[in-house]
Symmetry: C2
C-alpha cells in the first residue's frame, strides 16, 4: 500500500514536471516565433558585416559587433578571450580558363582553397583527371609530373545524410595538394564539395605537409568541373590559372562570450555556441552565422522569460573554426587552466534549417537523458535523439573533461551543401521561421539540460 | 516446442521481408536521387507552361503535356477524363492605392481573390478595418455601409504546423466578401494568408452566396496590409481599387491519368495524385506542381525498377482543385459508376519540401499498418505516421467508398506559406533534393501499401 502510494506520488510528480516543462517550452517557442531577434541579428551579421575569415577586418568587426550585442542584452560576464589565428587572404586576382586543342577559351568558376599559395603569375599546364583520390595515390610520377591534377570526385547524392557524402569527399580538399605534389604535380584542382550542379565553387580548408612541395589548390564549381571533364574526354586540354592568395603572419583575435550565472551551481558551466568566423565568400549565413545567432537567441529567450538556471549557461562565439580551430582549442585550455567545471556543451554548426533533433557525442549513459527529451519535443517536430556528433569548436572539451557530454544541434541537412563555403551562403538563403525554430529548439534543450543534469 | 518453432519461423520470415523491403526502398531512393526525372519534369511544367488556372490556355497545355509525358513513359491505360471546370480570369487591370488625408499616394501590392467580380471602373471608398472576421460579424451596418472592409487578420506565426495557422484564417478569404456585403460594404480587402512580412500578395478561392450582393474581393501583401493599418491608426484613409477580373462560362477540361496494372488484383486500384491546376500567379511550383511530379515520378520509378504491383497503381493529375474541385468530385463519381474497386488513395498537395511522413484519413484500423512502416522509413528521416488529412482531390472517394483509407504525404510545412498562391511560388523555390526525396518517399509508401493491403 505504502509502495503504491509512493509510486503514484512519483508518477504524479513526473506528469506535473512534464506539464510544467511543456508549458515553459511553449513560451520559449512563442518568444522565438512572435518576438524573435534571430532573423534581424543574422541580417546584421551577414549584411552589415558580411564574410569574416579569421584575421580579416570583417572578423574584427564581427567580434566588436558580438561583444556589443551581448552587452546590450545585459548578459553576465560579457568578455573577449584573446587568441591568435592564422591569417590567409585570397588577394585580388583569381582567374582560370582552359582551352581544348582547336577549341575556344572556356572560363572557369573557381575559388582558391583556404591556405593555398598563389601561382606567382600565370600558371599553365596539362590536366590529368582522377575520379577518386585513391586513383591519384596509385598513379605513377611520370604521368603526373609537371601537370595540373584535377580531382573530379563527386559527392554521393544518394546519401540521405548529406554530411556523410561530404565526409567521403573531404580528403580531396584536405589532402589533394599534398598527394598531387608528392607525384610532382604543379597545381591541384578539385571538384567542389557541393551537391547541386551549379556555378558556385565551394572553398574550404586544405593543408601542406612539411617536406612536400607546396602547390596551388583551388575548387571548381560542379558546372566547371563537368565542362572540364567533358573537354578532357575529347582530347588534350591546356589549363591557365592565376591566383595571388597568400598567408600573412598570425593575427590577434577573440572568442566572444557571455553568461547567465547559475543560481545553485554557478561554478558548473554549460557551454553553448557556434563559430563567428566564416569563409571569405558569401556571407557565412548558414555556416555559421545561423549557429551563433541560434545560441545568442537561446540565451536571450531564457533571460527574457526570467529563467534562472541552476547551472551557469555560457554562450561562446568561437573564432577560427574554418581554418585552424584555434578558438575551440584555446577555449578548452583556458577553461581547464581556470579550474572551471564544464558539465556539458552544445554546438550549432549545421545551418539554419528546420530542426530535426540533437545528437550526443559522449558516454552512452547520457543517451537515456537525451531520449527522455523526445516526447516533450514531439509537438515541435523534433525526432532525432541519438548518438551523433557534437561540433568542431566544442570538440577539444572532450579531452579536457573526459566523460563530458557534447551535443550537436541537428537541423535538416538536405540543402546544406547547396551553400556550404560557397558565394551562395547569403542571408537570403536562410528562412526566417526555420532559423527561429532552431533557436527555440536550442533554448528548450538547454533549459531541459539545466534542469536534469 | 512446435509453437516455438512456428514463432521462430514467423519472426524469421518477418525479418526477411523487412530486409527485402529495405533493399527495394534503397533502390527506389537511388533511382530518385541519382537518375531522377522529377526536377526536370517540374522545370518543364513551371517554365515551359507556367501557371495553369482551370479553364486557361495554360491548363490545356498542362493537360496535353501530362498526357504526352505519361505516354512517353509507356504506362498502362494513359487517358484523359473529360470534366467541366469553372473559368475565371484576372483580366489585365489590377491596381490599387491609398491616400491618407494630406498624405502621399501609397501604391498597394494586391491580387484579386479567385472568383471575385471586377470593380467596373475605379472604385473609391473609406476603409474600415477589422482584426478578426468575428469582429466584422458583430459590426453595425451603419459603420460598414458603403465602405471598403479591410480584414487584417494575421496568420499565427507561433503555430508549429503552419497549416493550422492557415486554417484559422481561411474564413476571411472564403467568407469575407459575403460577410462584408451583408452589412453593405462595397468591397473587401484581406490580409494575405501568408506568414512572411513581404511584398507578395497571396490569392485563393472565395465565394458568393445567393441573395447576397456580390462585391469585389482582393488580398493585400502583408507589407501593404501593415502600411494600410498604420495609416488608418493616424486617421481617415481613402482607398482606390480597379480590377477587371470576371467569370466566363464553364470550360471543358480533363483529369489525366495512367496506371501500372496489378498482376494479381488488376481490378483493385490504389489512386495516387495531386492537382495539375494552379493559381494564375507564380508558376504553381509547390502548389501543386511538386505534388503531381512526385506521383508521376513514383510511378516511373516503380516501373523502371521492374516492380510488378499486386494491385493496379494509378496516378491521377486532378484538374480544378483550386477553385471548385470538379476534378476530384467527378473522378470519384466516375470510378464508382464504372464499378471500380478503389482500395486506397494517396495525395501530395503540401509542397515539395523535405519529407516528414504520412497522415491517415480513414478508419483507425489502418493506423497499425501505417505505424508498421515507420521503422523501414527511419533511415530516410521520416517520422510522422499518424492520423491526419488525405487531400482535397481524393476527398470525394471517402463518400464513394466508405471505409477507404486516404493518405496524405506530409513534407516539412515551415516554408509552405511563404509561397502558397503567391507570385513567389516558382520553380526556383523548390529544392531539387527535397523534391526527389518526396518522390522516393511516395514510391516507397505505395510499394509498401501494395504489398500489405
Amino acid at each position: 500500500m505504502k509502495n503504491t502510494l509512493v509510486l503514484l506520488l512519483f508518477l504524479g510528480l513526473q506528469a506535473l514536471s512534464f506539464a510544467q516543462d511543456s508549458i515553459f517550452i511553449r513560451r520559449i517557442y512563442d518568444e522565438a516565433l512572435l518576438r524573435g531577434h534571430a532573423y534581424e541579428n543574422l541580417r546584421q551579421l551577414c549584411k552589415d558585416i558580411g564574410p569574416r575569415l579569421s584575421g580579416s577586418a570583417q572578423a574584427q568587426m564581427a567580434v566588436d559587433w558580438s561583444y556589443e550585442k551581448m552587452k546590450a542584452y545585459h548578459f553576465d560576464a560579457v568578455s573577449k578571450q584573446a587568441i591568435t589565428v592564422p591569417h590567409w587572404e585570397r588577394g585580388t586576382t583569381e582567374v582560370a580558363w582552359f582551352r581544348a586543342e582547336k577549341g575556344a577559351i572556356v572560363k572557369v568558376q573557381l575559388l582558391a582553397l583556404g591556405g593555398s599559395i598563389g601561382t606567382n603569375g600565370l600558371l599553365e599546364g596539362d590536366i590529368i583527371e582522377f575520379k577518386q583520390l585513391a586513383d591519384l595515390q596509385k598513379a605513377k610520377p611520370k604521368d603526373v609530373e609537371d601537370k595540373i591534377v584535377f580531382l573530379n570526385q563527386a559527392m554521393d547524392a544518394s546519401q540521405i545524410q548529406t554530411f556523410k557524402a561530404y565526409g567521403a569527399c573531404y580528403a580531396i580538399r584536405g589532402n589533394g595538394a599534398v598527394e598531387a605534389a608528392k607525384l610532382g604535380a604543379k597545381a591541384v584542382l578539385i571538384r567542389s564539395l557541393g551537391l547541386p550542379q551549379d556555378a558556385h565553387p565551394h572553398t574550404g580548408s586544405m593543408h601542406y605537409d612539411v617536406g612536400v612541395q607546396k602547390i596551388p589548390a583551388a575548387a571548381l564549381s560542379t558546372n566547371s568541373a563537368n565542362a572540364l571533364s567533358t573537354a578532357l574526354q575529347k582530347g588534350k586540354v591546356q589549363f591557365y590559372l592565376e591566383m595571388d592568395c597568400r598567408d600573412f603572419p598570425d593575427a590577434d583575435s577573440y572568442n566572444v562570450m557571455a553568461e547567465i550565472k547559475g543560481s545553485k551551481f554557478p561554478d558548473q558551466i554549460i557551454t553553448i555556441g557556434g563559430h563567428l568566423d566564416s569563409w571569405d565568400t558569401g556571407e557565412g549565413a548558414h555556416d555559421d552565422g545561423a549557429g551563433v545567432i541560434h545560441c545568442l537567441e537561446a540565451l536571450r529567450i531564457l533571460q527574457e522569460l526570467g529563467y534562472q538556471p541552476t547551472h551557469t549557461i555560457r554562450v561562446v562565439f568561437f573564432m577560427n573554426e574554418e581554418n585552424g580551430n584555434h578558438g575551440g582549442q584555446q577555449y578548452a585550455k583556458w577553461v581547464l587552466a581556470n579550474g572551471e567545471k564544464q558539465i556539458a556543451a552544445l554546438e550549432s554548426d549545421r545551418g539554419g534549417f528546420a530542426p530535426r533533433g540533437f545528437g550526443l557525442d559522449g558516454p552512452d549513459t547520457y543517451l537515456q537523458l537525451l531520449n527522455s527529451f523526445a516526447p516533450i519535443f514531439k509537438p515541435y517536430d523534433l525526432h532525432v535523439f541519438e548518438k551523433g556528433y557534437g561540433g568542431v569548436d566544442i570538440g577539444p572539451l572532450k579531452d579536457a573533461y573526459p566523460g563530458i557530454p557534447l551535443f550537436g544541434f541537428v537541423p535538416d541537412s538536405q540543402r546544406y551543401f547547396d551553400y556550404h563555403h560557397a558565394p551562395s551562403d547569403v542571408f537570403e538563403a536562410v528562412n526566417k521561421r526555420e532559423l527561429e525554430l532552431g533557436a527555440a529548439a536550442i533554448a528548450s534543450f538547454v533549459y531541459l539540460l539545466d534542469l536534469r543534469l
